[in-house]
């Protein structure tokens, strides 16, 4: 049995931990709100982009002048996975869920004899995937220094990816991230971004003016070849924002759980402590009484 002093120390340390987890929960809650606002502010752009893209693909009608980023290379031998995770841990299963989805995907691709390349965005995903697939990781994008996620961050990643594509580095590119549903639910998602055809199914239908005859300036093909890379950047940006919101949500609920666990532990320890103290008092009393009786 632990001594009274040990128990007292134990309770004090659990209390300190509880204070920390509580503070982290509150910080996460504040950050979550900001991240959610950012994700919502970015929504109009990606929605309109989807609409414009739908309009223009309709206009071109799958003609021969669609850029390769849209049609793909016609092969599917080399896959590039962009795995977006958080930079920090202590957010429950958030990072491992994304990494697990990516790992399952990699395993399936390898079983089919495909070649896999990985770009990790965020430290945690890199740490997990490095264990098994270190040789496939091309690059690790570090966003730890970034305070507020800007479009430039996403654009930089998109540029790298497109550069790699133009050099023939891969055929199909899939983006892994966590979709933000609510504070307690984040859904790890895989989304194919190159070729863009498959992603088109998620784009909203052409706007009400979709059947209007557009005039294009310059040519539709040229606009499209400018638009597709931008769309990729937008997709990545959205993924990063959703991830940021998801991470904070996951962290909030994880820290809430931790705070509650610490509370339970303190209760249990206090009961043991009180019992033991009572037992000692009783023992001392018995000693005194039996000593007095012996006289």
């Amino acid at each position: 049995m632990a001594s009274l002093k040990d128990l007292r120390n134990r309770i004090a340390s659990v209390k300190a931990t509880q204070k920390i987890t509580k503070a982290m929960q509150m910080v996460a809650a504040a950050k979550l709100r900001r991240a959610q606002e950012a994700a919502e502010a970015a929504r109009p752009y990606s929605e309109r982009m989807g609409a414009v893209l739908a309009n223009i693909t309709q206009a071109i009608g799958g003609g021969g002048d669609a850029p390769a980023l849209m049609t793909g290379t016609g092969r599917d031998d080399v896959h590039l996975l962009i795995v977006c995770t958080a930079e920090r841990g202590l957010c429950g299963g958030f990072n491992s869920q994304i990494a697990r989805l990516a790992r399952d995907h990699i395993r399936r691709l390898l079983a089919d004899g495909k070649q896999v390349k990985i770009i990790c965005v965020g430290k945690k995903g890199y740490d997990i995937l490095r264990r098994d697939y270190a040789s496939m990781i091309l690059e690790r994008v570090d966003l730890r220094e970034v305070k507020t996620l800007g479009f430039v961050n996403a654009d930089a990643i998109a540029r790298k990816v497109i550069h790699l594509f133009n050099e023939g580095g891969f055929d199909i590119c899939t983006l892994f991230y966590s979709q933000f549903r609510s504070v307690i639910s984040q859904i790890p998602t895989a989304q194919q971004i190159i070729p863009a055809g498959a992603a088109g199914s998620t784009a909203p239908e052409a706007t009400s003016g979709g059947n209007a005859v557009y005039e294009y300036e310059p040519e539709p093909g040229e606009i499209l070849s400018d638009l597709i890379p931008r769309n990729i950047a937008v997709q990545i940006f959205r993924a990063l924002l959703e991830n940021a919101a998801g991470e904070m949500g996951a962290k909030m609920s994880a820290m809430d759980n931790a705070t509650r666990n610490a509370g339970d532990m303190i209760n249990k320890l206090s009961i043991t402590y009180n019992r033991q103290r009572q037992a000692q008092i009783t023992k001392e009393l018995i000693e005194i009484i039996s000593g007095a009786e012996a006289l």
Binding site: A38, P44, R48, G150, Y214, E215, E217, I223
Partner: protein, 135 residues
């Protein structure tokens, strides 16, 4: 008074403007154009430049944009800008940085096509700087 129409200026980070306007001047890739209500549907890329909005209230506002798209319909106009700032908030250091980057791009370009593209972009940026400086 001219008929008003809906104009939206959106950057990836947020929706900057969404209101009824009388006319908008857009720096299209193939020349500036003024959009008014009932404009024929046009889709155009835009070059770095200044977007001038004349609101239904008669106020004039100017925004600096760095590339993007404009989707023009008779019922309204949506401008998807890569990055947009109000003229009053423009950061000259940022503009200078962009010009520096464009210069480097032009110097690094491997083939003629990408070089001419980079140089075109650079000249658009310097024109923009020239247009803003006296303001």
């Amino acid at each position: 008074m001219a008929e008003a129409f809906k104009f939206e200026l959106v950057s990836p980070e947020r929706l900057l403007v969404s209101e009824q306007v009388e006319s908008v001047v857009i720096p299209g890739a193939e020349g500036e154009m003024t959009v008014m209500a009932q404009h024929a549907p046009v889709m155009t890329t835009i070059k770095p430049g200044v977007v001038t909005i004349k609101t239904a209230g008669g106020k004039e506002e100017r925004f600096v944009v760095f590339g993007g798209f404009a989707d023009i319909l008779p019922s309204g106009c949506t401008l998807l800008a890569e990055s947009a700032t109000h003229v009053n908030d423009i950061d000259r250091a940022d503009l200078a940085r962009r010009i520096q980057e464009a210069k480097e791009d032009a110097a690094d370009a491997k083939d003629d096509e990408s070089r001419s593209k980079a140089e075109q972009f650079l000249s658009q940026l310097t024109t923009l700087e020239g247009a803003l400086l006296p303001a």
